[in-house]
Amino acid sequence: MTTLRPGRMTGSLRLRSHLVEIGILICLFFGVVLGASAASVQQGVIDVFSYETPEVRIPPTSTPGAANLPLIPGVPPEPNLVTQAGCCNYPQWSRDSEWLLFIDAPDGPASAGLYGVPRAGGPLTLITSRVGVFSEDWSLVAYLEGGTVYVERWVDGTRWTIPSSGRRIYFSPSNEKIAWEIGSSSIQNQDVQVRTIWIADIDGTGVRELVTVHGGGFQGWSEGGKAIIVSGRLTPTGPAGLWRIRLEDGAGRLLFAIDSPKDVLLSPDGTWIAFTIAFEKEMDRNGLWVLPTTGDPATKLSQYGAYRWREEGRLVVIPLDLDAPGAYLTQFDIPGNASWTLTSPLFSSLPIANNDWEISPDGRWMVFLSSEDAGLYLLELPIVKNLP
């Protein structure tokens, strides 16, 4: 019997020990190699795929738009925060341009509703806990409850039902009429979608079918509520375009022939239409157009981008101009055949988020959601009416 003395090993044990050491070395070797290779893959990823956002410095003379359109002289306007940062999205203006209105729930779910802040500054105020589609004068609200659409005069709570089969309604500017669409709502070939536009009196009576459109739909009210504007075809094979339809007899007039107008926006009084033509083979047609609802010729503007009406015939455009150092405002006066740059990206900062901006009904102010702090900012628009 072999007595094993402390600290001594047999030959076979030495061999096993060496084998273990060799195993450790191999393990360490592969561990290091694999770890290093894994690290190098990650490092390689960083090297290959990481990009620094290039700093853009463009001299004023090369700023598109600013080079084409004269800059309104005066002190460059600077936006001012009118709400708490991060408070709210989708601001709208009260009819008198004195309030900014938006959905909020400042004290938790039970506090949800339509809130407002005075344009001149002041506390957040609950206007109504009812959320819905409001009439132009904000006196009426339409909402969905249990599959039924109601209209409510929210000041006194009077409400009545609308037989729109649960579909969203559109108030006429004078609150005398309402309209809604019924028809294709699934995702399908938009060219063959069919929608019927229904009209009723504001109290939900006098319901009648006005027109059926193919490949289009309701776009807005015109002539103070005596006509509507629709896009599409009035018959399955007829001409496509923007149409004015008289409420009185349903007669349609083709205002502009086009297959698929995008982003159709009526002016506040419904006398002008702004719309986009994109990706047509006749490339000169592609861009931003304005069209009087009287049937007079349409005009293509020299800028394309985001647009809102400032007043009848005057459109504010934020050009889709990524080469410029920042967003800037231009204005097109269509009846006056004039255009200006309202703000320069070099002097006024407009960090707009979500394309979320609106112009006040009096045309003096612009509100926008900031991409920097998610607050609502107010900008006083330069006045251009009295320029030569």
Partner: protein
């Protein structure tokens, strides 16, 4: 030989000590292997791009947006459109639009958003009539949907960032209905997670969305109206999990 109790203990300790010395390399070896294994598994299971700074990908279209080139039409996330179709088209994507939509005429060249290897051509992932998936080394996969024709690439083929890999098409196959590119960014490992491409593609998105007559619309939960209403403030999509936006009090309504 008689050993005192102390000697027995000492011998025993020495004996154990020698065994410990003998076993120590084995233990260390196993520990080493274990640590290496855990490290490798950890690397493999880490979220894609965990160690990346900034946005690793480029735009799928060349040039600037405009009415003659391409236009942004729908962001990733809790859009009103996805909400409207949360029980049908977007049910499997938790009610979210799990990619971005860029409108472009049929036949517009689509660029690989990063270096990668073709994972699939016309797979079961949908977004017909044709689609393409490319795996990237950073753990993300880019998915290009509504392609005009089958991409002329083979599985396993290497592509470079900016290389033309497909042509944009129209899901309705008319090239007039709604021609656009649907672009998703998923994880390579499971392909069951979709990320917000706006977080990963190096572009000035807030400027790119500045076109048209209205804001980018997200569905609002009246109980929390500020949730998921920004281009970048959107949840990750876990395909096959429950709806994230089946709100009791939504705005706009389900009308």
């Amino acid at each position: 030989m008689i050993f005192s109790r102390r000697e027995v203990l000492l011998n025993s300790w020495s004996d154990n000590k020698s065994r410990l010395w003998f076993r120590l390399p084995t233990v260390v070896g196993f520990l080493c292997a274990f640590v290496a294994l855990i490290t490798l598994v950890g690397i493999a299971r880490a979220d894609p791009g965990d160690e990346l700074d900034g946005r690793p990908f480029i735009m799928p279209f060349a040039g600037n947006p405009g009415p003659n080139t391409w236009l942004f039409i729908q962001p990733y996330g809790n859009t009103t459109f996805a909400y409207e179709y949360r029980y049908s088209v977007y049910y499997g994507g938790q009610g979210l639009h799990f990619g971005i939509d860029l409108e472009a005429p049929c036949g517009t060249p689509i660029l690989a958003i990063g270096d990668g290897i073709v994972e699939s051509v016309d797979s079961w992932h949908g977004a017909g009539p044709h689609n393409l998936m490319i795996n990237h080394a950073n753990g993300y996969a880019s998915f290009y949907g509504h392609l005009l024709v089958r991409a002329r690439l083979s599985i396993g083929q290497r592509v470079k960032a900016g290389e033309v890999v497909a042509l944009s098409g129209d899901p309705d196959r008319t090239c007039t209905s709604r021609p656009h590119l649907h672009l998703e960014i998923r994880d390579v490992e499971t392909q069951a997670i979709a990320y917000n491409p706006m977080d990963l593609i190096d572009a000035d998105w807030e400027r790119i969305v500045m076109s048209g007559d209205s804001p980018v619309r997200f569905e609002q939960d009246l109980a929390n109206p500020g949730q998921w209403v920004g281009l970048y403030d959107q949840p990750i999509t876990h395909f096959g999990h429950g709806l994230l936006n089946d709100y009791a009090s939504p705005w706009p309504y389900d009308w």
